[in-house]
């Protein structure tokens, strides 16, 4: 980051604080590129960077923000001053904590730096993986996508100048198969924070993905009802994230929109359940070093031994609610507001082999690959869409496959019904919205778990 620009922003923040009780600035820069190839077309493009400056001012009652993508130093100075002048100071209702004094630069570790491979090599890698899919029987199309992003951010207030340089890579493969009458698709996702080591995909993983796509051609719709299920890590993650995580984002408490507020300190899950949100997990897609309010990243135990311990907070919510500030104040970009958001959210593993969990189910469904979910913090309902699941009969997987499946239910009931937790652990990366907007990179996951849900 340009030191002169940082110095200028620091001066302007101090200048703003002569008028208002608290001011901070966050400056986002970065960039990236994407490659996409399918059977017919190819694309290489730069990604639109989240590049802009946000001046955050507390007027005594609430935060006002002024955001611009113009980082010319002189125009930025005029912008800052005009913004500060427009703020009407109000009698202070809250005191905004400035945090611990710190000046530090954090940087993602990369084993294989993305620049180690040039654009030609990356394009050829994608073409090769696409061609492997296209060569398989019954495949009518394939898509391979790669994206790399540099996300740089510097947060400045009167005591803190903290900077992070995060690198995220994403890789996506899709196979489209047909039996002449029906067409189905399946996908494989890789990625995380780090370098090209995060997009390594084995040939057998690609082949399994294609084989599952073929099996989906004979998938059945499930008879609606309650089922014993074993959730594979991607589905466990959706349960932790959609069913529970969103419900403990405490900006929803301010709005009286989250049922979990009534359960702080209470036993809400089976005692074997621990749920954690941790932005410090190495290489995970949702990891960062500081949140968008300059808070150093650290794990938050949300549920410990089945008891709801702590929610996830942003600065304003934590101040108004009098609850601890966690490292979860995040925004989609300089253009959007900060909300309480998850990072890497997961159920902690315990001691059972996944095969032992499946073996313990007499009749049930193994939910293998999740698709999406939607939160319902007030009703504490669940909606999770599962790409496919397999029948379990007498502790064994059968050839029957169901797709798609809708998981619905009541969150505390689902969490209380968790009766077995595996010793494996996986995180799946993706983007998460607050409702239908405000997308930020996250991951979710955990081990195999056994519980009981309604499927449709």
């Amino acid at each position: 980051m340009d030191k002169n620009l940082v110095g200028r922003i620091r001066e302007l923040t101090a200048e703003a604080e002569r008028k208002v009780p608290y001011a901070s600035a966050t400056y986002f820069t970065g960039g990236g590129m994407e490659i996409r190839v399918d059977r017919k077309d190819e694309k290489i493009a730069a990604l639109k960077a989240n590049r802009g400056l946000v001046l955050t001012v507390f007027n005594g009652e609430y935060f006002q923000e002024f955001a611009t993508d113009d980082d010319d130093p002189d125009r930025m100075t005029r912008f800052f001053r005009a913004a500060t002048d427009s703020v009407l100071r109000r009698p202070p209702k809250y005191e905004i904590p400035v945090g611990v004094a710190q000046e530090k630069v954090y940087q993602t570790e990369e084993q294989i730096c993305p620049e180690a491979m040039n654009a030609t090599e990356k394009l050829d890698l994608m073409r090769g993986r696409r061609d492997r899919i296209l060569r398989a029987d019954q495949v009518v199309n394939a898509m391979a996508m790669y994206a790399e992003r540099r996300e740089n951010k510097i947060f400045i207030n009167r005591v803190r100048v903290v900077e992070e340089q995060v690198r995220r890579v994403t890789h996506f493969l899709i196979a489209y198969v047909t039996d002449g009458k029906t067409m189905k698709s399946n996908f494989l996702i890789a990625g995380g924070t780090g370098g090209l080591e995060r997009i390594e995909v084995r040939d057998d993983q690609i082949d399994n993905m294609i084989e599952t796509a073929r099996k989906l051609l004979r998938a059945e719709r499930i008879t609606p009802g309650f089922y014993d299920i074993v959730a594979a890590p991607p589905v466990t993650g959706l349960i932790a994230h959609e069913a529970f995580g969103h419900g403990v984002e405490i900006d929803m408490y301010l709005k009286d929109r989250a049922r979990s507020r009534d359960f702080l300190g209470s036993q809400i899950a089976a005692p074997i359940v621990n749920i954690v949100d941790d932005p410090t997990v190495p290489e995970a897609y949702g990891s960062y070093f500081i949140d968008d309010e300059g808070e150093p990243a650290r794990p938050t135990y949300i549920i410990k031994d089945g008891r709801y311990i702590q929610g996830l907070s942003d600065l304003y919510s934590s101040v108004v609610m009098g609850l601890p500030k966690t490292a979860n104040g995040r925004r989609e970009s300089y253009e959007r507001k900060i909300y309480s958001r998850m990072s890497n959210t997961f159920i902690q593993p315990r001691d059972l082999q996944p095969s032992a969990i499946i073996a313990a189910v007499e009749n049930g469904v193994y939910l293998e690959q999740g698709l999406s979910g939607m939160e319902d913090p007030k009703g504490w309902g669940i909606q999770i869409i599962v790409h496919y699941g397999r029948e379990i009969r007498n502790g064994k997987l059968t050839d029957r496959i169901f797709s798609p499946l809708g998981v619905t239910g009541y969150v505390p009931e689902l969490l209380q019904n968790i009766s077995m937790i595996g010793n494996d652990f996986e995180l799946d990366g993706g983007t998460c919205g607050k409702g239908y907007k405000e997308n930020v990179p996250v991951s979710s996951g955990g081990p195999h778990i056994r519980t009981r849900v309604r499927l449709g």
Binding site: M33, D38, R39, K40, D41, E42, K43, I44, A45, A46, K48, R51, E61, Y62, Q64, E65, A67, T68, D69, D70, D71, A83, A119, T120, L123, V140, N141, Y176, T182, M183, K184, S185, R221, P224, G225, L254, K255, R257, Y316, E335, K337, S372, M374, D376, K378, G379, G381, I382, Q383, I385, S403, P404, L405, G406, T408, G409, Y410, G435, R454, G456
Partner: protein, 427 residues
């Protein structure tokens, strides 16, 4: 800056270009109960540049393209050097760019958005003065008022300018009775303040919020389900997908021109679907799109028969089709004959799904019922939970549409569509 970008593009030896200069302003206002939670002003100004490079090889001529974003005052040569490398690697079949054509005058900016700060305040006052009603009060609201000016310039001679606006209100009402409480969230997106019908929408959702206090879970069975107008665009998305020229070119589309999109004889209402980019203040209206194609209206499905792929210039060239642009606002007609209360005795009316995104390839869908009603024997019971699942393509032959026509921002058509024999998972 525009002249400089064009000069440098020529100096770097590109064959074609498209440049969009984008200037955006947004005012955001966030309310909690009867107070302000936060207020934001956002300004953005950038150029989106796509450059094209044709290359001859043994296998024929290929066209490569590369897109990047640049801010005023930045060093264009650095970007163009990367673009030259990227475009030279991409080997696509040749296609042309759109040439200059007359553009229709389509209203896309409510002039009141020029005073967004004042308008946000007026909307906030309206929300705060109308949100509270019997057992119902405001949880929170978010108001987004934006306007954008876009200038398109291409190597084929297009030099055009347009202004667009967007008004979004995202609102949550809470209801309480004794120890029971519930929420009703809704979102309105329009381009004209008059189309928001904010008070009417608040009052309607107040009724829903009250009824949320007495919800029951639906039971497991095959049922008739009535979908509301704000779900129809998403419900029909697989039709848009298979009607896309790109998807046809990829070998994925199941539609053929002149063939019916339903299998077997129709049991319900036959319908027509149009794509329209010229509806005044339509959310997907455009007097010209990102390729410079003029706003157009096309019949995609006519009385159940597939008529036209929606084609960008690139895919129109590949398939020898008319360049129509991608699918814009949806018009469904003719309006059918459904009157659920009068004609069907047992059905679910879905007010809100948690989210409804059918698989675009297969048309399969499954979604949780966030709120709705079960109508049976003249009794209307609020329901929540469980899910509705089915397949849109299998349902096309047995749909019925309501008589009333509505406009929901990107959709004009029947207020409801009824689908028989869907699977409802409940208690």
């Amino acid at each position: 800056m525009l002249t400089k970008i064009k000069d440098r593009i020529a100096a770097h030896g590109f064959y074609d270009f498209q440049i969009s200069r984008v200037t955006k302003k947004e005012h955001q206002l966030y309310l909690i109960r009867n107070g302000v939670e936060s207020e934001r002003e956002v300004d953005s100004h950038y150029y989106e540049v796509t450059v094209y490079l044709d290359q001859k090889a043994e296998a024929g001529v290929f066209r490569g393209a590369y897109t990047f974003f640049i801010k005023p005052g930045e060093d264009i040569d650095r970007y163009l050097t990367d673009a030259r490398v990227g475009a030279a690697l991409v080997k696509n079949r040749p296609y042309g760019l759109t040439g200059p054509k007359p553009f229709p005058a389509v209203e896309m900016l409510d002039p009141r958005l020029r005073s967004a700060h004042d308008q946000a305040g007026a909307l906030a006052d309206m929300i705060m003065s109308h949100a509270t009603a019997d057992r119902v009060y405001l949880s929170s609201a978010e108001i987004y008022l934006s306007s954008a000016e876009i200038e398109l310039s291409t190597s084929t001679g297009i030099a055009a300018r347009k202004e667009k606006g967007r008004i979004e209100v995202d609102m949550t009402l809470l209801s309480r009775s004794g120890k029971e409480d519930a929420e009703m969230h809704f979102n309105l997106e329009r381009r004209n303040f008059d189309h928001l019908r904010l008070i009417e929408n608040i009052e309607r959702h107040q009724d829903y919020a009250r009824d949320m206090l007495t919800v029951k879970i639906p039971r497991n069975h095959q049922a008739t389900v009535v979908f509301g107008s704000d779900m129809i665009y998403n419900l029909f998305f697989p039709i848009i997908f298979h009607g896309s020229a790109r998807i046809k070119d990829q070998g994925i589309s199941k539609f053929e021109i002149g063939a019916p999109i339903i299998s077997g004889p129709p049991q319900g209402d036959v319908f027509t679907v149009l794509s329209s980019g010229v509806i005044p203040y339509g959310l997907r209206s455009d007097n010209f799109d990102e390729e410079g194609l003029p706003g157009q209206e096309h019949t995609v499905i006519e009385n159940g028969i597939f008529r036209k792929y929606m084609a960008s210039k690139q895919y129109a060239d590949y398939l020898g089709l008319e360049p129509t642009g991608t699918f814009k606002n949806m018009i469904v007609k003719p309006v059918g004959t459904l009157r659920p209360n009068a004609e069907i005795d047992d059905y679910y009316e879905i007010v809100k799904f948690s989210e409804l995104f059918p698989d675009p390839i297969t048309g399969d869908f499954v979604s949780e019922i966030r709120f709705g009603y079960h109508h049976q024997g003249g009794v209307k019971t609020p329901v929540k939970g469980g899910s509705v699942s089915g397949n849109i393509f299998q349902s096309l032959s047995d749909m019925a549409f309501s008589r009333t026509e509505v406009f929901t921002g990107d959709y004009i058509g029947p207020e409801n569509v009824l689908i028989r024999n869907l699977s409802v998972a409940g208690g």
